[in-house]
Symmetry: C2
Subunit: 229 residues, 2 copies
DNA sequence: AAGCGTTTGTGAAATATTTCACAATATTTC
DNA sequence: GAAATATTGTGAAATATTTCACAAACGCTT
């Protein structure tokens, strides 16, 4: 079992306790969660290739990390390996999936059916990964002629009802930047707790709501910085 | 001036030296670079709103970070503020842009003109941010009927020549996962040093090449983990 | 069933990043 | 122009994350 030093070791008694959430689960570092997602995908490929077991060294290499980091990451929520042999691919997959909570399919909605929104809607890759965009919303809902879209494209007026009825907790936001904050507020009011935002602005959301940004310009800027040496 | 403790403080003499790259520039932490990009965008909005100066508190709030973090980030490469007053918006913008190296426009190519690639190609937002997709390549180059695409869509055969002639250093990769590694290798052979990869696999690239991934399924998985409490 | 080679799990060390606390220095007010 | 007020810049402390180093545990061979 892994332990963290709790806050205030200087003034406090230096007690060592496992760091836990209100819910009782042990806190797993943000970065570790990202990597668990990566491990999960590497394991899926290994399984496709017919492998039954994998060592931390091999899996770490596939994931682009060091073996010790992989083992530390796994140590956050259990011990699954067999010393001298490695990990059972199927078992490790399902343990990580359990921990991430992606064992069941999550319903997601998309708001803003423009250029980008349409591309995301027509992408048939999310289902395999445990997510399903079940509906899209737009201020000006139009069904595109030349694309096969399985999901309904609805007006903003019916969104609150839809979210409540389907228990939607996550949304993809692909509206223009000037509307993004306003739409995000609306989503939060409707009960959405996680927003994946493509608009190039910083969203302000309540404490208990999480907004992750995908900002391609920043990704490019980042690349451009690190490649000049 | 900011200083870092160099490696090996336990065995070494505990010498304090500024950490620098081979090129002579001081190393700026990865995360700081990301945040600098965010600050830059917030400053642009402030300027649009007619503000001349801004305090670290106000800018930090706009960027979603703490004021001390903003100041520490800036301290990596200089001191620009006026105590008691704050920062000059225009000056700080150009200093950050200089540091990031985005003062000049970077040419970028895109490989894989499918659903996602087309959406990115037709996006008119990158120019404002200092990037320009100057051409696209596909194994099966077709010009879409119903979209206005300004850039040429070319076959893979002409890519090496194009990259060499235009001094292209960065590429956006939006081909299907099974082709991604192969195309990435090709790009690297042609001299591309930075790849923004949308395919859901971990790319293997040489040390001196940087591959950043945008994996939407992982972003969604991440959200879904942190919203259940 | 003992020995050997392998690989995990994990405390401790090293490194990295964030936050604190406050001196330094500017502006503003009276 | 002195005092009050505001805000930066930065060592040091706190916290977080990664890496090291190695004992413990397993499978396999003989
Ligand atoms: N297209 C890209 O490749 C790309 C790349 C990076 C970032 N982005 C960002 O993604 C977002 C979407 O980009 P896009 O190119 O698809 O834009 P777009 O203009 O093609 O589409 C925007 C859609 O949002 C809808 N919309 C506008 N206001 C709305 C509101 N208040 N409520 C509901 N729907 C509303 C519009 O009707 C339109 O269908 C933008 O913020 C853009 O900056 C796009
Ligand atoms: N569309 C999305 O919303 C979305 C979302 C997340 C991730 N992705 C990922 O982005 C990538 C592209 O997705 P898409 O939906 O645009 O796929 P797509 O099938 O619509 O387009 C892929 C394009 O790549 C071209 N291509 C295939 N092999 C090639 C090769 N060897 N060299 C050059 N070009 C080649 C094809 O001709 C096609 O035009 C995929 O890896 C996908 O998993 C897409």
């Amino acid at each position: 079992m892994k332990y963290f030093t709790n806050a205030c070791p200087a003034r406090g008694a230096g007690l060592i306790l496992p760091r836990v959430k209100k819910s009782g689960r042990i806190i797993i570092p943000r970065k570790t969660i990202y990597r668990l997602s990566i491990y999960l995908r590497c394991l899926a490929r290994l399984k496709e290739n017919g492998l039954d077991t994998v060592s931390s060294e091999a899996l770490a290499k596939a994931a682009g990390v060091k073996p010790t980091q992989l083992r530390k990451d796994l140590a956050c929520f259990g011990t699954f390996g067999t010393r001298g042999l490695g990990y059972d691919v199927t078992e490790l997959s399902s343990r990580i999936a359990d921990e991430l909570g992606t064992s069941r399919l999550q319903p997601v909605i998309l708001v803003g059916v423009g250029n980008l929104g349409l591309a995301l809607l027509s992408y048939r890759g999310f289902e395999k990964e445990g997510f399903e965009i079940i509906a899209a919303f737009d201020a000006n809902p139009r069904r595109p002629r030349n694309k096969q879209i399985a999901q309904p494209i609805l007006g903003m007026d019916v969104m609150p009802k839809f979210i409540a009825e389907h228990g939607v907790k996550m949304a993809i936001l692909s509206v223009p930047a000037p509307s993004a904050q306003e739409v995000a507020n609306h989503l939060v009011d409707c009960g959405v707790a996680g927003i994946l935002n493509f608009a190039p602005i910083v969203l302000t959301v309540p404490e208990d709501v999480m907004a992750n940004n995908v900002n391609l310009a920043i990704e490019l800027e980042n690349l451009s910085y690190f490649i000049r040496d």
